[in-house]
Amino acid sequence: MEVVDIRPLLAPLLSLFCGILVFAVGERTWWRRFWSLSAAVVKLALVYSMLPGVLDGKIYSYSLIEFTPGIGLAFRVDALGMFFAIVSSSLWLITTVYAIGYMEQEHERARFFGFFALCVSTTVGIAFAENLLTLFLFYEMLTICTYPLVVHEETPEAMKAGRKYLVYTLLGGVFVLLGCAVTFQWAGTLSLSTAGILPASVGKQGLSLLFAAFVIGFGVKAAIMPLHGWLPSAMVAPAPVSALLHAVAVVKAGAFGIMRVVFCVFGVELLRDLGITVWLAALASVTIVLASIIAMTQDNFKRRLAYSTISQLSYIVLGVALLTPLAALGAIVHIANQAFQKITMFFVAGAIQRTTGRTNIHELGGIGYQMPFTMGAFTVAALGFIGVPLTAGFITKWYLSLGAMEAENGWVFVVVLITSSILNAGYWLPVVYMAFFKVPPGTHLHIKEAHWTLLIPTLICAVYVILLGSFAEVPGMPLSLARTAVEFFFGL
């Protein structure tokens, strides 16, 4: 049931407004905090106010302007968009609190928090975009708004990483734009409101090329190998930005874009007939395993996290590419699961860096005796990535694997997933081992935790990792939204 409602527009607009106010208040700390938090809270409230309706099957939409017939800016809240919006805006609030604590001593805080709030606005725009053009617009805006955050430190290294980031993502954007234009040519519309708009009559070759263009375009942000180069370099950014890149917005925007292309532009039926997604699944599998293996060799904490993200993102791509309902469910819900797990780890990495100045894993011996709660949270997230039952990661692994079994020759992908979870154990458990068991002689429990603004968000996220895993079936949890979305896309 479609309902015309202004809230889908207000959600990005109000946080955009708050973001501008953050710039306006400049260096006045109290007001800057106020407007930063307002942006996050207002958006969260607006998004949550639509949740009951969406769960009931309502679809909120709002058309802003139409440039020419069929091309315009419009917003629409369906289950998938709602899912992405809820995850990103919930995490946004938590990250903002963390960032306020983390950036205490930093320079240029007005610029930082201003762009931080703008990112919030663009992400929700991506989530609620009704057509490919709106999606593309916000997708590009996200690139631009995150650039000042990536180069925040303004060191030569940061500037270089920023350049790399821009080159990769803007080039990706070109491919998306190309895809949009061709899609409009062939389908006569850019709408994302149905399960597939492209006609099969175009021909296999053309559709395959179009699909490849979209995959390259969105695949840059989703960090599918070999398009992942920017992500490990962007690790020079401050920890909250990394959290934003890896968990909340940027990489997820890429994965979300691929979902929209697969489910809404092509549609499951058409892609099954084309049979090209098996290549995407293969590419994702290679990325999953290869990135994990590279992660094992990284000593820098945040670089290891970066390669882990590349590997985990491909879980989502793999789940989408398998084109079975359960795999799609696993993929969608992994947006939330990966986000909470990864953000916990970034918060931990940031807290350790701020409190002790250590950035490499080999320096972490005995850190658990100094920051037991932080490292406890890390342990929960690590178990999540391994996919231990009752953590979020297990839900993903379960549905993805069951979905893979439904696909043709799917057991190959099940083996990939299980291998990956063993590899995850291989690079995350050593960190736990360093923290709690590889203790320099004479270490005693001497608690000196990070500041509460850093610790509390970390703990909240860790608790969520367990809640998402244990109570996935409780109505209102992300899984229920993901299921609604899957039922729509697969016509169940």
């Binding site: 178990l383 391994i386 996919g387 069951l402 079994m405 291998t419 458990l429 709690f436 068991f437 409780v474």
Partner: protein, 495 residues
């Protein structure tokens, strides 16, 4: 009143106890000891309370929360689960009390006790899990969250053993997960206790693949050769009371998983049709003999006992794979009998380590004079392990033997008796040396024990209780409520 409602409490009580460890330790070590002993005592009592009902054929079930649209986290008590749960509860109580003496001069005791309590929660969960997914949840948590206990000493050897342990266990866990997902894919969500999950109509290749995945996955934990690598390293490295639990319960959890798979997932009919029981029994037979032979040259006492565990767990799988009621009874009752026997042997080893500094068999010559009670119990338990009547080890062997004859495989008796003979070869020389050999230099140099007990009363008490259980489970094996009655019932009521 229905006892079903107490099932969640049974499983969660030890977790609650784990939460008490740190606060109570702020009061005193004594308060901590009292507090968690009471919690484990209550838990075990609650488990025991279920026995009469289970023997009457009642089945208690309780759903906890929903995992997927068709699968609930659920707890269920049947005879097999009850057998494992009560064994675990009692052995835990013994290990806990023993720990107070053993851990008195160790560091990081809070961590040790907290994780020991948590491990009981996972174990009871494994025993009482109502379906495969619930089983997996507890099994995985059990596997991973016992790591801090394995490496407790944090010596280089312990750390190496811990790393080996976690690698084996995680790969095994991956295989189990693969097999469980295969089962759900083939057969959908089903609870233990109905008919067997899988049927012969399903694709034969898939059935075989899933079966061997299960065996390989659980086989890592159950120490089926050649997947046993972690066992001989982990046991000497861990603190003795945890070694007792490790051997008695943890390795048995793998065997328990295999039993659930054999009888509840596949069912006897399907196993016969697939023809997989025979190769499994060969693997088990190989394990029994090879591990026993490997045990003989081991000088480290706990390592020798670890190989003995591998061999004895082979009996459990061996009995189960013969698929006759008596052999299955023998296999099930051997889980309980072995747990208490091996637990007691490790407790004895723990006393020798703490009170005499003795780790190796070669240092034990003449030790009986200084530690008469410990070595007396060690002797008695060794005899039981070999299968001397009327001790508990004999009961298991007796039923296994009858089962072999029922299954019309008489030459398998060679393996049964060969294993017993080899057990005599690796255990009795220890006893002989302790009593009859000239004292080893290390024993000669030990200070005299004058007018005091050879070990703290709690440690000695636990060892004596262990000996008593070994005798009771042998002489009064028939008594209702003891493991044999549960094992018989379980074997007769398999789906």
């Amino acid at each position: 009143m229905s006892y079903s409602a107490i099932l969640p409490a049974v499983v969660l009580l030890p977790m609650f106890g784990a939460g008490l460890v740190v606060p109570l330790s702020k009061v005193s070590n004594r308060a901590r000891a009292m507090g968690i002993t009471i919690v484990v005592g209550i838990t075990t009592a609650l488990v025991a309370l279920l026995i009469p009902g289970v023997l009457n054929g009642e089945v208690y079930e309780q759903r906890l929360f929903q995992m997927t649209p068709t699968i609930w986290m659920s707890l269920r008590v049947d005879a097999l689960g009850e057998l494992f749960a009560i064994t675990a509860g009692l052995l835990w109580l013994l290990a806990l009390v023993f720990s107070f003496g053993y851990m008195a001069d160790e560091e990081r005791t809070n961590r040790y006790f907290a994780f020991l309590m948590l491990a009981l929660t996972w174990t009871l969960g494994v025993a009482l899990a109502g379906n495969l997914l619930s089983f997996l949840v507890f099994y995985e948590l059990f596997s991973i969250l016992t790591y801090p206990l394995v490496v407790h000493e944090q010596t280089p050897e312990a750390m190496a053993a811990g790393t080996k342990y976690i690698i084996y266990i995680i790969i095994g866990g991956g295989l189990v997960l693969l097999a469980i997902m295969g089962t759900y894919f083939l057969a959908g969500a089903q609870e233990f206790g109905g008919s067997a999950f899988l049927t012969a109509e399903l694709d034969r290749t898939s059935l075989l693949a899933v079966f061997w995945c299960f065996i390989a996955g659980f086989g890592v934990k159950a120490a089926l050769m050649p997947l046993h690598g972690w066992v001989p390293d982990a046991h000497p490295a861990a603190p003795a009371p945890f070694s007792a639990v490790l051997s008695g319960i943890m390795v048995a959890a793998g065997s328990f998983g295999i039993l659930r798979v054999l009888f509840y997932v596949y069912g006897i009919e399907l196993l016969k049709e697939l023809g997989v029981a025979m190769p499994l029994s060969w693997i088990a037979a190989f394990t029994i003999l090879a591990a026993a032979i490997l045990a003989i040259p081991q000088d480290n006492l706990k390592r020798r006992l670890a190989y003995s565990t591998i061999s004895q767990m082979g009996y459990v799988i061996f009995g189960a794979s013969l698929l006759s009621v008596s052999s299955i009874t023998g296999s099930l009752v051997h889980i309980a009998n072995h747990a208490f026997m091996k637990g007691t042997l490790f407790f004895c080893a723990g006393i020798l380590i703490k009170r005499a500094g003795i780790h190796n068999v070669s240092e034990m010559a003449g030790i009986a004079k200084r530690h008469p009670i410990t070595m007396g119990v060690f002797t008695l338990t060794s005899l039981s392990m070999i299968g001397t009547p009327p001790l508990s080890g004999f009961t298991s062997k007796w039923y296994l033997g009858i089962g072999i004859l029922d299954a019309e495989q008489p030459w398998y008796l060679v393996i049964l008796l060969g294993g017993a003979l080899l057990a005599a070869v690796y255990l009795l020389p220890i006893v002989y040396a302790a009593y009859f050999k000239e004292p080893a230099p290390i024993v000669r140099d030990l200070p005299e024990i004058e007018g005091r007990l050879e070990a703290p009363a709690t440690m000695l008490g636990v060892v004596l209780v262990g000996a008593a259980i070994t005798i009771i489970l042998g002489i009064f094996a028939w008594a209702p409520g003891l493991p044999l009655s549960l094992a018989k019932l379980a074997a007769e009521t398999l789906p």
